[in-house]
């Protein structure tokens, strides 16, 4: 659904002349499906991480911008590790979901506590008060 909407939006930008080339879309593996057992999750997380590593090396993004699902964690962690060892390809930006008003998501909590994101954005003032290193940007929708 989101993929379809994103494609339509990108094509509309190209059609209106706002940009020259449409964005490229690719799918990445999830570390864990909702309700999946933790035992099998170990394996799927390793697969997702290996896939993320391959993508990071192939694409070498200058910017990683993500918005919340656990799927973004392997990418962010790998980008962060690269930075730590001196391969400074990517700046990492995280925007917490608009549905998170009082508590961060698990992905958000991990990235905030481990200080993995270069900039951490929240959409509600309550979160900014609770997590002072976050930047409040208001509702984006």
């Amino acid at each position: 659904m989101s993929l379809q909407k994103a494609r339509v939006f990108e094509n509309s930008l190209v059609d209106s002349g706002a940009k020259g080339i449409s964005a490229e879309f690719m799918q990445i593996y999830r570390s864990r499906e909702v309700g999946q057992s933790y035992v099998t999750s170990v394996w799927t997380t390793l697969v997702a991480t290996a896939h993320a590593l391959w993508l990071m090396i192939k694409i070498r993004p200058q910017v990683v911008l993500c918005n919340g699902p656990g799927t973004c964690i392997p990418l962010c962690v790998i980008a962060f590790i690269f930075k730590v060892v001196g391969i400074r390809w990517s700046s990492i930006f995280y925007v917490e979901s608009i549905a998170r008003v009082k508590r961060l998501s698990l992905s958000g909590l991990l990235l905030y506590k481990l200080q993995i994101a270069d900039q951490f954005f929240v959409q509600w003032p309550q979160l900014q008060r609770k997590y002072p290193r976050a930047r409040y940007v208001g509702c984006l929708m």
Partner: protein
């Protein structure tokens, strides 16, 4: 209330949506006599239920006998069209449904699914209800909410703007500020 000049009844549709979820409790209560009677009393003529992955099937009705006309479907590729033609939307607490409805300026009652574990979705519905952008209810309180709602008291929602985020990111990356 419902009659146009030429005697044709003006349709006022209540659209119930559960998105891609399974939310039988909402579908069931929307289809209950109590809620249907309340909606009819408030001047609505049609009830259209998008039931998603649920297993409870509402009872269709033409409404010819002086009651609410009821219809349902599972999924649609054009939910936006249904939202646009609705006079009242009753939705699950998914942020996509909520903001799509608010951006269309439609009156909205959000029903929180109490069966969900980790119900962080209710935070969004409650916050927006506190700001008077919508009404928030539970399946068991839906008919009371419908009975007591004053749609004129709802505050229109102004769509958000992502430009501040883009500006902050550009500044961090060292791009010159656009004047």
């Amino acid at each position: 209330m419902g009659e146009a000049r030429d005697g044709v009844k003006v349709k006022r549709v209540v659209f119930v949506t559960v998105g891609t979820t399974c939310f039988d409790a909402l579908v069931k209560v929307a289809d209950s006599q109590e809620v249907k009677d309340e909606l009819y009393r408030r001047g609505y003529t049609d009830l259209l239920i998008q039931m998603g992955r649920g297993s409870y099937l509402p009872i269709k009705s033409t409404g010819d006998d002086g009651s609410l006309a009821v219809d349902y479907f599972t999924f649609s590729s054009s939910i936006a069209d249904h939202l646009r033609s609705a006079s009242l939307v009753i939705s699950h607490a998914g942020s996509g449904s909520i903001f799509e409805t608010l951006q269309l300026g439609k009156p909205l009652i959000v029903v929180v699914n109490e069966d969900l574990m980790d119900n962080h979705q209710s935070e969004l519905a409650e916050e927006l209800a506190e700001r008077k952008h919508l009404y928030c209810a539970r399946p068991l309180t839906l008919h009371q909410t419908i009975a007591g709602m004053d749609l004129n008291s709802l505050v229109p929602y102004s769509p958000g703007d992502a430009t501040p985020v883009a500006k902050l990111i550009n500044r961090f990356l060292g791009f010159p500020e656009e004047s």
